[in-house]
């Protein structure tokens, strides 16, 4: 028998000294600090980008502009430019246009797919592995955890957009000439001004995905399965974009969160047209408010049984 075994009688005898000692342990509640409060947000970001899955998604997004660049390079080698998206014709004249082309091609499917995976899994994935209950008894605070997940989702949107942009710039510079950029309106601006526009466009594209982050977060609070939440979110993006093509649904289309996604092209005119871009950002803010509140209402009142 090990020395650790103590009979109940002995245990009760030690009880008195234990009660005396209890004053020493954790004297009352500890104060929350600003650094302590922010720690979860940092931890959340760190966790998001520590996942192999996140890196793989960013990798896929980075491959996309490379493929487009190579295809355009091969196509424009022998024939004059034909149809295709508005930007493709410009790419062969200026490598920087690959940024806009790649974003226009990634925004309907690839970008929202990756965002749907990250946002959809955010709460549901933690529930599925059981880590959610340990975060909550830490105690993370339900509102704080939700805010940290939302912040990490937004940062992922930016990272995903930047993955496309950086890969596009590198590919564009390698395969095509860089120089003055002819805008969609026919005006020409210098390379420096064009880079500023590219940064602006990247910012708008990243923000265009914020409504989807809120939707994904909400779906994520509904289920205990990460896969189900991811699939639902991605499925929703595709469904909404199909609905956006039906003429019969003309009345509701301006309220679909994907409706104005490609409005960033208006920033490639001289002067820039902000109407649709602002409408898009306003719509995203509305979606964040509605689905953020729904996620909060659901998550703060829900039984955590996983």
């Amino acid at each position: 028998m090990s020395q650790a075994e103590v009979s109940p009688a002995e245990v009760s005898r030690t009880e008195v000294s234990r009660t005396e000692a209890s004053a020493a342990v954790g004297a009352g509640p500890r104060r929350q600090t600003a650094a302590g409060f922010a720690a979860l947000f940092r931890s959340e970001l760190w966790l998001t980008f520590r996942r192999t899955r996140t890196i793989a998604l960013l990798g896929i997004l980075a491959v996309l502009p490379v493929l487009i660049g190579v295809v355009v390079r091969i196509e424009t080698g022998d024939s004059s430019n034909g149809g295709g998206p508005a930007f493709i014709a410009q790419v062969s004249q200026n490598g920087l246009f690959l940024v806009f082309t790649a974003l226009a091609l990634a925004l309907p499917i690839f970008l929202p797919m990756t965002v749907g995976v990250v946002a959809g899994d955010s709460i549901a994935g933690e529930a599925a592995t059981g880590t959610l209950r340990y975060l909550l008894v830490a105690p993370a605070g339900r509102t704080r955890l939700l805010a940290a997940k939302f912040t990490a989702g937004l940062v992922f949107c930016l990272a995903a957009t930047m993955a496309v942009v950086v890969a596009a710039v590198a590919t564009g510079a390698a395969l095509f000439p860089l120089g003055e950029v002819t805008l969609l309106s026919g005006d020409t601006i210098g390379l420096g001004a064009a880079v500023v526009r590219a940064v602006l466009v990247a910012g708008v594209v990243a923000l265009s995905l914020s409504g989807l982050v809120a939707i994904g977060l909400f779906i994520s609070t509904l289920t205990g399965s990460g896969i189900a939440a991811m699939a639902t979110t991605v499925g929703l993006v595709i469904t909404v974009q199909i609905l956006d093509t039906f003429p019969q649904l003309h009345a509701i289309q301006p309220f679909l969160f994907t409706h104005q996604w490609l409005s960033f092209g208006d920033l490639l005119r001289q002067p820039m047209h902000w109407d649709n871009v602002l409408q898009n950002l306003g719509l995203q803010a509305l979606y964040v408010a509605v689905f953020g509140s729904a996620a909060w209402a659901r998550f703060t009142s829900r039984d955590i049984t996983a």
Binding site: S2, A4, E5, V6, P8, A9, V11, S12, T14, E15, S17, R18, T19, E20, A21, S22, A23, A24, V25, G26, G28, P29, R30, R31, Q32, T33, A35, G36, F37, A39, L40, R42, S43, L47, R50, R51, T52, T129, G130, T131, R133, Y134, L135, L136, V137, A138, P139, A140, G141, R142, T143, R144, L145, A297, T300, S301, D303, I304, T305
Partner: protein, 337 residues
């Protein structure tokens, strides 16, 4: 003690840190009429009145499905009670999670870890979740917690490569990242080998000796007998009994035990002396000695000897918690709820 109904206030559970009501300083956990009915209609906990005194090692005992984990989830603010009140460290749950839980370490229904993070990074993650914990001391506290559960050597290993016992230890380490007033451990020795069980129990005693109240659920009676000062017994969502372990075991009747190679002959003598509920083994038999008192005990022994029984051992063994449980519920312990 507060009795305000609070199921509707559950949304406010992400409460900011505030002063704790000074009520009931000597009871670390107190519930009254605590009830949980799940959406499917399953009544998991039914009118629980539980009192856990400060400084105790409190065993929360019950067979599978008796409502132990559900109770613990309510105490930790993870699920809202259907009715009744739960008070932890003097504050109502789940409204006071923000103020109460930094002072509570918990292991609920087994450990849950991020498989792609190392043991050390897992602890850092859970520590970051607590807004009252100081990021500057995090690395040191994580190292100390790892050391305390004997995981220092495996600290850098990915948690998915941990054995069940190592995971269980890491879960314990995360409960010990801060000095705690209360440690809630839901079946902490589940899945451990005997050596691992002994180590966890030694750790529980050590933590208790520092003044932390330990609330430990288990379906192992001897585990509770070995480490706990107090115990409560659950059965099918209801509290059967609570009190000190000594009291509970005392409620069980002692059993008369005879060690002899002549089991059959001894059995006849015991039956004549109205010893009931006889159980026989190869070289041992025991029974309920209700009709045997201090005086008749030597006579019974003499009767055995004169009947030619070679008595190797003879005596009354003190009741165990298991006997108490059987006496209290009239059923075996291992029935599912």
């Amino acid at each position: 003690m507060t009795t305000a109904p609070h199921t509707e206030q559950a949304r406010g559970r992400v409460a900011a840190v505030g002063p704790t009501p000074a009520a009931a300083p000597d009871d670390v956990i107190r519930t009254s009429g605590l009830t949980k009915r799940f959406q499917g209609g399953q009544l998991a906990v039914d009118g629980l009145d539980l009192t856990v005194p400060r400084g105790s090692v409190f065993g929360f005992l019950g067979p599978n499905g008796s409502g132990k984990t559900t109770t613990i989830r309510m105490l930790m603010g993870l699920i809202a009670p259907s009715s009744g009140v739960a008070t932890v460290l003097g504050a109502p749950m789940p409204q006071s999670v923000g103020a109460v839980l930094p002072r509570v370490g918990a292991l609920i229904e087994g450990p849950a870890l991020y498989g792609f993070l190392s043991g050390r990074d897992n602890l850092a993650r859970f520590d970051a979740a607590d807004p009252t914990s100081d990021p500057r001391t995090r690395a040191r506290r994580v190292t100390e917690a790892l050391d305390r559960v004997g995981l220092t050597a495996a600290a850098g290993k990915k948690a998915r490569a941990y054995s069940l016992g190592m995971k269980q230890r890491l879960g314990l380490a995360s409960a010990l990242l801060q000095p705690r007033e209360l440690l809630v451990l839901d079946e902490p020795t589940n899945g451990l080998d005997p050596q691992g069980m002994r180590e966890i129990r030694a750790l529980v005693r050590e933590v208790a000796a520092e003044g932390t109240t330990v609330f430990l659920s288990s379906h192992l009676l001897d585990e509770i007998e070995q480490v706990c000062t107090h115990a409560a017994v659950m059965s099918k969502g209801r509290l059967v009994v609570q009190g000190t372990v000594a009291e509970l075991a005392g409620r069980a009747q002692g059993r008369l035990v005879v060690r002899t190679p002549d089991v059959a002959a001894a059995r006849d003598v015991l039956v004549q002396h109205r010893v009931t509920d006889l159980r026989t083994d190869e070289a041992r038999l025991d029974g309920l000695a209700t009709a045997v008192d201090e005086e008749s005990l030597p006579r019974l022994c003499a009767a055995l000897v004169s009947a030619g029984v070679r008595v190797h051992g003879f005596g009354v063994e003190r009741g165990t918690l298991e006997d108490a449980f059987v006496a209290l519920t009239g059923e075996g312990f291992d029935v599912a709820g």
